[in-house]
């Protein structure tokens, strides 16, 4: 496999990476760049733990060859986290104990971010629908749904 140079924007910064052709964005992020918030779960597009934003839309990095994001804007959970403190979604996930083992949490937060960016006041049903592709095997989802509802209120309250 021939290595290739691929350039894209990662969390607001321009990056040039040398990758094996057809390697996935998930592998690049975790194994080459050390952005390990993006998890490796099923590698089938079925669990949502590897969710990242590409141009603001949620996508599964396990199904995405790196070459496909050339020139695009990729955001991971690291990019959502402010330099100081936490994003409102991270705060409310903590407050509601919406993480147990925590493996699904990055994907949950990235997907919720994509939802709130498009729909700042989602209904309970809209939150559930947006998160159907993110599997959690411990919290039972209820705390996660409440965390997203609270985060929406908190973001809107700040007028952000």
């Amino acid at each position: 496999m021939k290595p290739k140079i691929v350039s894209f924007t990662l969390n607001g910064r321009h990056v040039d990476v040398i990758v094996n052709s057809f390697s996935t964005l998930q592998t690049l992020l975790r194994e080459q760049l050390g952005f390990t918030a993006t998890k490796a779960g099923c590698k089938q597009g079925g669990c949502g733990s590897c969710t990242v934003l590409v141009n603001g839309e949620s996508m599964l990095s396990c199904l995405l060859p790196v070459e496909d994001v050339a020139g695009q804007e990729v955001t991971t959970l690291e990019g959502i986290t402010p330099l100081e403190g936490l994003h409102p979604l991270q705060e409310t996930f903590l407050e509601h104990l919406a993480t147990q083992c925590g493996y699904c949490t990055p994907g949950m937060i990235v997907t919720s971010k994509a939802l709130l960016d498009r729909n700042p006041n989602p209904s309970r049903e809209e939150i559930i629908k947006a998160l159907t592709g993110n599997v959690c095997r411990c919290t039972g989802y209820e705390p996660i749904i409440k965390a997203v509802q609270d985060a929406a209120q908190r973001i809107n309250g700040k007028g952000a």
């Binding site: 590698k43 597009g45 949620s58 996508m59 396990c62 995405l64 496909d68 629908k129 947006a130 159907t132």
Partner: protein, 279 residues
């Protein structure tokens, strides 16, 4: 991982050239939501892959009663087509948000049943496919495109370029029945388009998925409806005909006999809802 070469053509012409050069050794991929899981698991071991994400086939044009959709338009982009609510409904019920941001309408047509729930809406809408090869193009009705399980009329040197969808002239409905409410494969999916003339059904298209080796039109059930009114007896007869002409399969989602029963239930339910729907 056995992939030695990955091509990302920037135009349809370039994609056709690559296909002509590499032939059947080339795996053609659009959104990757079907191919990548198999490659990641080592079930599919292609040496060469061509990704169509950048080939300029991502567009929606609406003109004169027809919506033309580029083959790599994503399922979530289909939600923007307000003129065809049944297609929006089918797209919104497919897989998860992230998969819909990646999966394409063209890819959905090649998805093995019981995947392919958007294709079932396209069948009910009598969509046509534009297939392109280096020498030109041909237009094929989607209803004639399917040959069997994972088999289509696509020729080795052809690519699916776009899907032409007529804006429905009559009433439409789409019902997907799965074991969960969302992000789930179909037990069965039903899409129906009915043109009424007064009380009588003038034209009917009933499309089913999960009910045979590929999405298909239930022509016997359609024939039962045409010329009749949508009364209880006709609806029952059409549902029964649809069950009889189905050829369902057993998989992890549902058994053959359960799927056949559900064809009857959901064709009946869809027609009853259409009977109540305002013209």
């Amino acid at each position: 991982m056995t992939v030695k070469e990955y091509f990302l053509p920037q135009t349809l012409d370039e994609a056709l050239e690559l296909l002509a050069k590499h032939g059947s050794s080339l795996l053609v991929m659009a959104g990757g939501t079907l191919a990548m899981p198999l490659i990641n698991d080592g079930i599919s071991l292609p040496e060469k892959v061509m990704g169509l994400r950048q080939a300029g086939l991502n567009y929606i044009n609406q003109t004169n009663g027809t919506v033309t959709v580029g083959a790599t338009t994503t399922l979530n982009q289909l939600s923007d087509i307000e003129a065809i609510s049944v297609l929006q409904e089918a797209a919104n019920n497919a897989a998860s948000l992230s998969v819909r941001n990646m999966g394409t309408v063209g890819g959905n047509i090649f998805a093995p049943s019981p995947s392919g729930d958007v294709a079932v809406a396209l069948l009910a809408l009598d969509a046509k496919l534009k297939l392109v090869d280096p020498n030109g193009e041909r237009i094929v009705p989607l209803a004639d495109f399917y040959i069997g399980f994972m088999m289509t009329d696509l020729q080795p040197d052809e690519l699916l370029a776009e899907i032409q969808v007529p804006v429905p002239a009559g009433k439409t409905i789409y019902i997907k029945f799965g074991r969960k409410l969302a992000n789930t494969p179909s037990v069965v999916a039903v899409a129906i388009h009915l043109v009424m003339h007064g009380d009588q059904v003038k034209d009917a298209r009933i499309a089913l998925n999960g009910a045979g080796p590929n999405p298909f039109r239930a022509k016997n059930a359609e024939a039962v409806l045409v010329g009749s009114s949508l009364n209880v007896a006709t609806i029952d007869a059409a549902a029964k005909a649809a069950m009889e002409e189905s050829d369902p399969f057993t998989d992890a989602v549902a058994s053959e006999s359960y799927r056949r029963k559900m064809v009857g239930v959901f064709v009946g339910r869809a027609l009853n809802q259409l009977a109540e729907q305002e013209d």
